[in-house]
């Protein structure tokens, strides 16, 4: 399946990873996807959204999804 992945703010800089579109087969959850792509443990405070809606690390990933990882938000 095709997945689009985005990283924001300090997380993008720390990982030195650009947004990417990838093909994956064995991935089922957001957590799997992170492991597959980043190849490190996921920090506790990282937030995730699937198709611009908040999700959890256990949420299932589906073909065509946009998955965004980001650090705690600091707006306002």
């Amino acid at each position: 399946m095709r997945i689009s992945i985005k990283f924001f703010a300090s997380l993008r800089e720390q990982l030195k990873m650009e947004d990417m579109d990838i093909s994956v087969e064995s991935v089922t959850t957001v957590h799997d996807l992170w492991q597959h792509v980043v190849k490190k443990e996921i920090p506790d405070n990282i937030m995730v959204a699937i198709n611009q809606e908040y999700a959890s690390m256990q949420s299932l990933v589906q073909d065509g999804d946009e998955i965004a990882f980001f650090p705690p938000v600091t707006g306002g």
Binding site: E13, Y54, P72, G75, G76
Partner: protein, 150 residues
Amino acid sequence: MLVKVTAQAIEPWNILAHYEQQHIQSEHTGAAAVFVGVMRKHNEGDEVKSMYLEHYPAMTEKFLQKLAQKTMQQWDINDVLIVHRVGQLFPDDPIVVVAIWSAHRAEAFTVCRELMEQLKTQAPFWKKEQLHNGEYRWIEKNTHGYIVNT
């Protein structure tokens, strides 16, 4: 209801004056509570030269829209306004305006504060400061929303 994410400078009192004139019905509105967040020149002991406010274009405004709608459904209020700045900011620039209009003051106060807490902890914005010495740093967490005895 007005929800807007903008890279242009915002003038909170102008926005409120115009919005109120065009959209707020006097019949049942007796109270407005407003919060304005402004970029400070000092943060954590350092002088800040500028700030970059990153957001998630596909998600941020949509998130705020849903937050405003949920707030309207959940509380006995008449209207909600959220305007949030993104991009390059300088000290003294307004960052956010949140306003609640309601019949009575209790709802306006409670909901304005509650909405700000949700915005601060959930809306996808990230602040990166440029210090006076040229260094850059990401703001890692929010200040407390309620007064903490120290």
